[in-house]
Symmetry: D2
Subunit: 135 residues, 4 copies
Amino acid sequence: MPHLTHIKVRGYHLDIYQHVNNARYLEFLEEARWAYLEDCGDVEYFTSRHLAWVIVNININYRSAATNGQQLQIATQFSKIGSKSAVIHQVVSVAGSDTVVADADITFVCLDQRTGRAVAIDGELLERLSKHLTD
Amino acid sequence: MPHLTHIKVRGYHLDIYQHVNNARYLEFLEEARWAYLEDCGDVEYFTSRHLAWVIVNININYRSAATNGQQLQIATQFSKIGSKSAVIHQVVSVAGSDTVVADADITFVCLDQRTGRAVAIDGELLERLSKHLTD
Amino acid sequence: MPHLTHIKVRGYHLDIYQHVNNARYLEFLEEARWAYLEDCGDVEYFTSRHLAWVIVNININYRSAATNGQQLQIATQFSKIGSKSAVIHQVVSVAGSDTVVADADITFVCLDQRTGRAVAIDGELLERLSKHLTD
Amino acid sequence: MPHLTHIKVRGYHLDIYQHVNNARYLEFLEEARWAYLEDCGDVEYFTSRHLAWVIVNININYRSAATNGQQLQIATQFSKIGSKSAVIHQVVSVAGSDTVVADADITFVCLDQRTGRAVAIDGELLERLSKHLTD
């Protein structure tokens, strides 16, 4: 089951087209990822090991426009754990409906903040991340 | 030759990692696209025909971190004109260097604001957009 | 009793000083005002009468820094109804503590969107707004 | 003479009212302050002494709405140097016109980043800041 976050569209999220601006969605997605990582205890885990998630790619589809007052639901789940990177899949939809507003794949690496280098995803780290695929 | 826009990284562009936040790049890219469209006269052309560009996909690679005080250069050019959508390719680099910070493909459709529907890219519109590929 | 909204500080809210950026607080305050107006039914009331709230002044004190992971509470209440403008007082604090992070007075006028002019706050409008002072 | 910065209003700066959003102006003002401090060499001066400017109050008047495509001019100058704080006055206007869009007083203290405390504005620091009043 994906993790769910809800965000209500407000007047300041809109742009000249009266729709949520394309850049704002990335803040919505980041909000949902922090909430997810917090809820599953990963913020502490990664911080204590000096590991930071560094995004290397975002591929986002804008499928329908979100407008003022709409309640959005953001579903967040891991979709792939590779040897060097992992992918989180996120779907923004209008809460209580089948309307998909946007969906995105977020690819990231785990950076060791002491060396400034990405670490291999194996051993304990692989075990930790892999749990996200099945939870 | 791609169109060039310059943006200096400021303290408010950074996030907890002291790098430009992933969402902020989409504003940088949008800034560069508006500047491009303005410089080539397309803002007027599209506005007068009630056509809006609606983004359907952004695929962005984050290749290196941008930090406070860096001067960024954003190169913007069309890379593909299809029958229903077009693609703009944008590269963010550190000005005066070979360091690529991010690159992205922005896919958009042309929406007729009177009908709310995407229009086919043919005839005069195709001619107009195609000029961007060779300019 | 003031209306309460809660916002958790995330990594993308911070700036080069690792504190919530000064501009971001205005979004937090706007979020809280929309939530307040929605909860008391005023969004519908004003929209149906073509009235928009237009901010003419914000006076905000930044009293202590908010950092990543803190849960902020935003208390929102009307503090003054004048003949032409009204004032909303908002206090941002760390939830569950006495630590005030910021407080602000937001002065606004009611704009008739059909004429583009501010309207006098009297009659039914005065009655409507005055309820906020005592609720 | 105040320092001048120019910013063009883009579609992503607007909100539901099709005007530049109230929070966005604070980013415009911050952009102008960084540009000012950079141009006069103060960024280096303060950084090398581990001093950070910390904003304690912003008092901003929104005088007229800025809309898409407008070229804004931001005039920045010091207006007061006190013993513990200083004030920068900033005026946003439509370039080439007398139309004031917003004006603001930004009050800040100088924080010693090693102690986390505001320092007294005297001696060399007073001399440095005072130059801004007369330049």
